[in-house]
């Protein structure tokens, strides 16, 4: 897959705050890249830089040869619900389609597609003011992709939505990616990044500190480690494992470097302490473990 756009050594300061610090990233055709990081890590600044809304202090945004940032190849779905609340769904789509140079039959066709895609056809002619957040989020996304851009920049697209709506949005975005559209998704929901993306870029303090598939990231950062989650029926008097996270001494979350070496003594220790195991999960570390390892900080959802 070739790169659709490359960010090269982007730097941007807002007064004393460094938003982007030598940030490098490339987005490939027909992939979903998740940009994860804490609040203020530089995710939104990256999105704004790509769509030409942020003047970089230095560095550059390089599009595929022959391309530049334009309405034809870039669609933005802002973090806010950027819709006119007094207008109906169709009117909002007409306005933003019109702003993206869609006219007449082409516009009508795309509006029909968008309403079907978002499953909002039955509410098409209602002012959106009274809609649920989930419905508004879906329409918010539809307005950004109506003109069939090659790259869609989604800034926290599932913020404040219920799990059911989130699932619907994920399905919408999977469909979009499968149709060949490149997606850049910023999120602080690590689970969302795992489910949605082909590659994940972890950004911290304006810099990409790791980028790759989930398995790449795990291998590169944690090697062959496994994550163990052990739940006890009652708390033990003393800690079971050095370095494990267990605020209540009942749920132990630990990284095991060698399962065969480390797990049997741990189980023996629980037996000696007359502890009762409720559940035990051992698996490959998830993105949260990688993220924690890299940023030395837990991200609270």
């Amino acid at each position: 897959m070739s790169d659709i756009v490359k960010i090269e050594h982007a730097r941007k300061r807002f007064g004393p705050i460094v938003a982007l610090d030598d940030l490098c990233l490339e987005l490939r055709e027909a992939e979903c890249l998740a940009l994860v990081g804490r609040n203020g890590a530089g995710k939104t600044s990256t999105v704004r830089a790509i769509c030409g809304r942020l003047r970089l202090d230095s560095g550059s945004i390089v599009w595929q040869p022959g391309d530049s940032v334009s309405t034809a190849n870039c669609g933005l779905v802002p973090q806010e619900i950027a819709l006119y609340p007094l207008l109906t769904a169709v009117e909002n789509l007409e306005v933003f389609g019109g702003l993206n140079d869609l006219r007449g039959a082409a516009l009508r066709d795309r509006i029909d597609w968008a309403l079907a895609w978002t499953t909002l056809s039955d509410r098409a002619h209602e002012p959106i003011k009274q809609w649920s957040v989930g419905m508004k989020r879906r329409l918010n996304i539809a307005c950004g992709v109506l003109h069939s851009p090659r790259l869609v920049l989604l800034d926290e697209p599932t913020s404040n939505v219920d799990p059911e709506s989130r699932q619907t949005i994920w399905e919408m975005l999977h469909g979009l990616r499968d149709s060949g559209t490149s997606l850049l998704l910023t999120t602080h929901l690590l689970h969302e990044a795992e489910i949605m993306s082909d590659r994940i870029a972890i950004i911290d303090k304006g810099r990409v500190i790791a980028c790759g598939t989930l398995s790449d990231l795990v291998r590169e950062t944690l090697g062959d480690e496994h994550r163990m989650i052990l739940r006890l029926a009652a708390p033990l008097r003393e800690p079971l494992l050095d370095g494990a996270r267990s605020p209540d001494n009942m749920r132990i979350d630990a990284t095991l470097h060698d399962i065969l070496e480390q797990l049997p003594p741990l189980l023996q220790k629980i037996r000696r302490a007359e502890g009762k195991i409720q559940s035990l999960e051992v698996g490959v570390p998830d993105l949260e473990a990688v993220f924690r390892h890299l940023t030395q900080s837990r991200v609270d959802e």
Binding site: L54, S70, L76, A82, E91, L99
Partner: protein, 401 residues
């Protein structure tokens, strides 16, 4: 012209019934109320009647004459009170009760031997016994007017008595009991015949003043939509669609100016329909249109500039209210400029209200042609362009950060 952008502005306005009421209906209601009040003030016959109690302790021909004269005056409702009651109870509390219970503005008490003392003074004002005027100071204006009217009546009567005494009896004027006043004042209105009629002129001035005031408020309110679009991310989306900050602001400006023009035109149409403002007489309409377009462009540009300068709706509401009220007070929207001091008039020229109102006055009062409006239109357009240039520069800087 970006049709989609204009359509979004139009749809948002059309759906916002409260904004429509504030822009189109509220100014008409306010204008109607103000016109009704101003008409009452400018028409002496319609001023609420001053209720005057009279106690005649003299019972002379002179006092009877004065009382009849006061009763004949428009705007006075003279009630004769029994003197005995006040003679018996002259303490402060009792007088206050009299005023309050009879709903009187004042009570004029003619003392005993009032006529004799006036005669012995030889008609010179102020030399005889005084009329005692018991006032209710709760209405200081009416009480003051009443005192002046009484003084004026007495002075007039004294002069009339002197003139009558010098005239032959054959002219039918009795020196002791004057009949029809011998002196008639002829008033001449320089801008009467051939020029706008006084009533509609005052209404037109009121309409213009109110129109500019409400136009400013409407434009400041419209300017707030810029902040809404920025805050909601709509601006970000619009700019990503390839619309520049300059284009976005110019579309807003053009649309707001159209709405402002519609607002002012609605108010003047109302004035023409109900208050007979001569909107369609001669070249009035074209002059009105030129002034309204120029004023609306300037007001819209100011609204946009204020919005760009502010970071939130709260800031905008506070700052725009102060700016609009100060400009309107100095510029003549709230208080006619011709009643202001020279210094205030000069200060008013720094507001575009003053230029707008001068222009409307030229159209409806001085019957000026379109060319005569050039200075006012030029200043307003110049201000509009300046405001917009600053707004675009600041807007660009703000949008790219």
């Amino acid at each position: 012209m970006n049709a989609a952008l204009m359509r979004s502005l139009w749809l948002c306005l059309r759906r916002d019934w409260l904004a429509l009421v504030l822009i189109f209906l509220l100014p008409i209601i306010f204008f109607s109320v103000m016109t009704a009040v101003l008409e009452q003030i400018s028409d002496p016959t319609s001023i609420a009647t001053v209720k005057l109690g009279v106690v005649d302790r003299d019972h002379s021909e002179t006092t009877r004459y004065i009382i009849r004269h006061l009763q004949a005056q428009k705007g006075f409702s003279v009630v004769e009170l029994s003197g005995a009651a006040l003679i018996k109870n002259e303490d402060q509390q009792e007088r206050a009760r009299w005023l309050r219970d009879n709903h009187l503005t004042a009570i004029a008490v003619f003392p005993v031997d009032f006529a004799k003392s006036q005669a012995s003074s030889g008609g010179s004002t102020g030399a005889g016994q005084a009329i005692e005027l018991l006032e209710d100071r709760a209405n200081p204006i009416y009480a003051g007017i009443l005192a002046k009217m009484l003084e004026s009546t007495l002075r007039g009567l004294a002069q009339l008595a002197r003139v009558s005494a010098a005239l032959p009896q054959s002219l039918g004027v009795d020196a002791g009991l004057p009949g029809t006043p011998a002196v008639r004042v002829e008033r001449l209105d320089v801008f009467g015949a051939g020029f706008g009629q006084g009533r509609t002129i005052s209404v037109a001035y009121g309409a213009a003043g109110n129109a500019v005031l409400f136009l400013l408020f409407a434009m400041a309110g419209s300017g707030a939509t810029l902040l809404d679009e920025e805050e909601s991310g709509i601006l970000e989306r619009i700019l990503v669609c390839g619309v520049s900050v300059r284009n976005w602001l110019l579309h807003k400006w053009f649309f707001f100016a159209l709405v402002g023009t519609a607002q002012v035109t609605t108010m003047f149409l109302w004035g023409a329909l109900i208050y007979h403002v001569e909107l369609f007489k001669g070249t009035h309409f074209w002059g009105f249109l030129a002034m309204t377009l120029a004023t609306a462009l300037a007001a819209a540009a100011l609204g946009i500039l204020l919005a760009i300068l502010c970071r939130s709706r709260t800031q905008l509401a506070g700052i725009s209210t102060v700016v609009i009220l100060v400009m309107s007070a100095l510029g003549g929207s709230m208080f006619p400029r011709f009643l202001m001091s020279t210094q205030l008039k000069t200060a008013g020229l720094f507001t575009f209200n003053a230029w707008a109102l001068d222009g409307y006055q030229k159209v409806f009062w001085y019957e000026s042609g379109l060319l005569d409006l050039a200075p006012q239109v030029a200043v307003l357009i110049g201000l509009a362009l300046t405001f917009m240039a600053v707004a675009v520069a600041l807007g660009r800087r703000r949008a790219m950060n």
